[in-house]
């Protein structure tokens, strides 16, 4: 390379300095044309001053503003595609040194045509950084330009979308194509402090630099956009650093949604706390340890206030039966009698159940009998001068909360068959609501390998009369008989 530079001295007097004034800050073709001639005339980089519009050329005040004449025997200038594409981007950077840097690289490229591959070279790295910044600024322009709708005063022109944007580099003209390809059937303008673009639906024109006050102030759609922005943000995942990295504050002032950011951040902890607290009142979970004895469950359910039923004036009713029962019978929830006795199925429905179990040949004492919901849900009411507690059905959510306990009981007893009586009981075991008429009579496999059988609740029978009751009683008996038969099979 040194030999090459020495050769240059034969053509150019050492005292020659050149000043090149560029017509536009982003005019790559002009720069390329001049740079080619200067390389061919072997003018070394430190003898050229590149001046962009508005820039100062004082440094080489005595430099020659005329270009040297290319000698006839000049070699063609070597610049590979990698260099050209990089230079095209880097020249849009606002750094006034970029032209000189690119020339220096082009100059060195003549001696070492593969120099662009040497990523550890300081000049190569610097140009790559410039190009990267420009690409990033372009990308942010594609992303952060916000059009506002103005109804045009001109007849027949209709809607006009106008945006104000402040790019960091000279990227406006280079990005005209992107917006044209995207919004071809719209009439739009992008105004920037470095110039403006106008598309009328069929042709593009350039305008002078603009000021923020030239752009419209607001758009009714921005309210919707802001509420979308606020709603899609999940306060449980606050990551301000990640946001700032991709959306630096310098862009915020022209983005309508950015005004919300401080309050969204400030309110996030409260919003998250509210989300958690609201969930917590009914929470219990797999990471919380389940009691592993029936005694511990009995004790714990008395203290359970995970749903509003537990907070009523009542007692929890624990299941009862052998710890190793092959059959688990699950009802809905304790009633008034059960609540007072502290035992499951001792009221009218329990008595009816006993009769049917007898008829089916199932010994209740061999089964583990319990409820899907552990507490009695009621509303207090004054009836005929006396206070009474009127039974109320538990809500799906309350059943799901109590599922925690019934699963704990199941894990200990490990029944081979589970008989759920009524839709609430079925939900307590399945986690979803099923229709009794659709699922009765067929076993539903459970994840631990046992089987769930579903039938009606005996209290349902109590509410029926005449032929309807006879029909339901018959179906109930049939279900119990099927369970009895299946029990014989699975229990061996």
């Amino acid at each position: 390379m040194i030999a090459k530079q020495n050769m240059g001295l034969q053509h150019v007097k050492l005292s020659s300095y050149y000043v090149v004034h560029l017509p536009e800050a982003d005019d790559f073709d002009f720069w390329r044309e001049r740079a080619r001639v200067l390389v061919q005339c072997e003018v070394p980089p430190d003898r050229i001053a590149w001046v962009e519009p508005g820039g100062s050329g004082d440094l080489f005040a005595h430099g020659d503003r005329n270009m040297p004449v290319t000698p006839a025997d000049a070699r063609p200038v070597r610049a590979n595609r990698r260099f050209v594409s990089l230079a095209r981007n880097a020249i849009l950077h606002s750094d006034p040194e970029r032209f000189a840097l690119l020339y220096r690289l082009l100059w060195r490229l003549q001696a070492n045509p593969r120099m662009m591959e040497d990523k550890a070279d300081t000049d190569v790295r610097r140009v790559e950084d410039l190009a990267k910044n420009v690409r990033r600024d372009s990308h942010k322009m594609h992303a952060f330009v916000r059009f506002r709708l103005v109804e045009s005063e001109d007849e027949g022109l209709g809607e006009h979308y106008v945006a104000w944007f402040e790019p960091e580099h000279h990227i406006l003209r280079a990005n005209a194509g992107f917006f044209m390809r995207r919004f071809s059937n719209m009439r739009w303008s992008i105004l920037t402090p470095r110039g403006s673009l106008h598309w009328d639906g069929s042709s593009m024109s350039e305008g002078p630099p603009a000021q923020r006050s030239d752009a419209p102030g607001g758009d009714p759609m921005e309210d919707l956009w802001r509420s979308y922005y606020a709603a899609i943000f999940n306060p449980a995942r606050l990551k301000v650093g990640a946001m700032l990295k991709e959306m630096p504050k310098k862009y915020w002032k022209n983005m309508p949604e950015a005004a919300l950011i401080p309050e969204l951040i400030a309110g996030a902890q409260n919003r998250e706390a509210a989300m958690v607290a609201k969930g917590k009142s009914v929470f219990s979970g797999e990471f919380e340890k389940r009691p592993d004895t029936l005694e511990a469950i009995d004790k714990a359910i008395h203290a359970c206030r995970k749903c509003p039923i537990g907070a009523l004036d009542n007692h929890a009713v624990m299941g009862e039966g052998p710890r190793d029962a092959a059959l688990m019978i699950v009802g809905e929830q304790p009633g008034d009698h059960e609540d007072q006795a502290g035992r499951p199925f001792v009221g009218p429905a329990g008595k009816l159940l006993d009769q049917h179990l007898d008829r089916a040949g199932i010994d209740r004492r061999s089964a583990y009998v319990t409820n899907a919901v552990k507490h009695f849900k009621y509303v207090p009411k004054i009836v005929r001068g006396g206070k009474r507690r009127l039974h109320q059905n538990p809500q799906a959510k309350e059943i799901d909360t109590c599922r925690w306990w019934i699963e704990a009981e199941r894990a200990i007893v490990q029944p081979k068959l589970v008989l759920a009586m009524g839709a609430s009981a079925a939900r307590g075991l399945l986690g979803r609501t099923v229709s009794i008429s659709k699922v009765r009579g067929v076993p539903i496999p459970l994840e631990d390998g046992s089987e769930l059988w579903v039938t009606a609740h005996p209290s349902y029978l109590l509410r029926l009369d005449g032929p309807a009751r006879e029909e339901q009683a018959r179906l109930f008996d049939a279900d119990l008989a099927a369970v009895k038969a299946r029990l014989g099979e699975v229990a061996g």
């Binding site: 639906g201 449980a236 996030a268």
Partner: protein, 418 residues
């Protein structure tokens, strides 16, 4: 109840969509709005790379209008805020309302397109029909050429899912949970076989459409950005090993473009069977890092599983690449001037770009530590694992406390990290 305004509906239905992890709008066919059948041009373009139009304070990008058509749902999945038994406020858009919102936002350059999902109303088929109708109006009546991602309902007829793929750039079907037992327990209305069956059909459609386009230039495009899926992390007991295994099976079996992980976050009105603790977001981050290693760094699922701790989970304090390197110290140091690309890609702290630069530069010079430092973000992290002409980490890789030397000091960061 008084009729809800568009603004109220948008608030409810965007809020309900905030748990969806996917936001990608890239990798589809290149289109622009110039010309076309009516000569006046349409609206919208896709140029390969997606664009993030804003970032929320949760650090996530906003690229698409991500909303639900409705958050009414007949299903009762425990991890889902829209479950039937949840008492969140409900709202419902008409297809036309979604179309109008999408276009109004798109024209103002707020978004790249639409990501539409929905709770299941009436029936799966009815819901799927409504989703497809939104895409149809956008494409056919407004000549919309921006990005559309439709979340399809696995229970819907295959023909309807096929229709969705003809209008959309991407279709996705959520596997929801990494294990079948988790699905049985937490999503009682869903069925793993059905979900995978639907994915399989979409894959068959993708293959067929690709094949047809080779023969007929005008064959209709089918979901040019492919299909993706999402699973929820931390709602059941699945370990990172289970999750990585599941993800790699999905990538292999169904040619998925992406598997998204969504850390289970506390949802208002959560179901009683869900865990009290939310998993740290950093766990989700580690899973994405391991996904990245498999897609771009040549790691096999087995490699990632080897990087897990005895409990089957990836370490939270260091990234999976460093975790692997610390377990397999015998593979290091690698000589940056001689090592293969594959070996360099295994060096903690060296990314795909840095490796490319090293390979290009070393043809010109023997790299010194300073040179490598210029090509990487942080030489401190890389140094123990490499040799250069002037550097050899004599004992460093054998030091027992290497992990603590390299693990980021997170105390200060924890405020926002998890």
């Amino acid at each position: 109840m008084a009729a809800q305004s568009i603004l109220q509906k948008l608030e409810i239905l965007a809020d309900a969509a905030k748990y969806d992890a996917s936001c990608a709008s890239s990798g589809t066919a290149k289109r622009n709005s110039m010309g076309g059948p009516n000569g006046r041009g349409g609206i919208g373009s896709t140029e390969g790379m997606g664009i993030c139009h804003a970032y929320a304070p949760d650090g996530r990008c906003i690229s698409l209008l991500k909303i639900l058509l409705t958050n009414h749902c007949v299903f009762d999945c425990h991890y889902c805020v829209n479950r039937k038994s949840s008492n969140v406020a409900r709202a419902r858009f008409t297809p036309q309302e979604v179309v109008d919102l999408t276009l109004a936002f798109y024209r103002r350059n707020y978004i790249e397109g639409l990501f539409l999902s929905s709770g299941i109303v009436k029936s799966s088929n009815h819901t799927m029909e409504q989703l497809v109708e939104v895409a149809r109006i956008l494409r056919e009546e407004h000549d919309f050429r921006g990005y559309i991602h439709l979340k399809t309902i696995p229970e819907a007829d295959a023909e309807m899912v096929h229709q969705a793929g003809l209008y959309a750039d991407r279709v996705s079907i959520n596997v929801e949970l990494p294990t079948d037992s988790g699905l049985t327990r937490l999503a009682p209305d869903k069925n793993a076989a059905q979900i995978e069956g639907a994915m399989g059909k979409v894959k068959a459609d993708l293959v067929e459409a690709k094949d047809a386009r080779k023969r007929f230039r005008h064959a209709p495009r089918f979901a040019p950005a492919g299909q993706s899926t999402q699973m929820i992390v931390g709602a059941d007991a699945a370990t990172d090993s289970d999750i990585v295994g599941k993800a790699s099976r999905l990538y292999d079996s169904f040619g998925l473009r992406r598997v998204y992980y969504s850390a289970f976050s506390p949802i208002p009105d959560a179901s009683a069977v869900l865990p009290l603790k939310r998993p740290p977001l950093i766990r989700e981050h580690r899973l994405y890092q391991s996904d990245w290693l498999m897609r771009f760094y040549g790691y096999k699922p087995a490699d990632v599983m080897q990087a897990t701790e005895p409990d089957g989970n990836l370490p939270l304090d260091i990234d999976p690449k460093l975790a692997w390197a610390l377990k397999f110290r015998g593979a290091f140091p690698v000589d940056v001037n001689r090592a293969s690309k594959e070996q360099l890609l295994r060096v903690p702290g060296l990314g795909v770009k840095a490796v490319g630069k090293i390979l290009a530069s070393r043809r010109h010079r023997a790299l010194r530590l300073d040179d490598v430092a210029r090509l990487t973000l942080s030489i401190t992290k890389v140094r123990p694992f490499i040799c250069t002409v002037d550097w050899r980490p004599v004992l460093l890789t054998d030091r027992a406390d290497l992990r603590s030397l390299l693990a980021p000091k997170t105390e200060q960061l924890e405020l926002f990290a998890a």
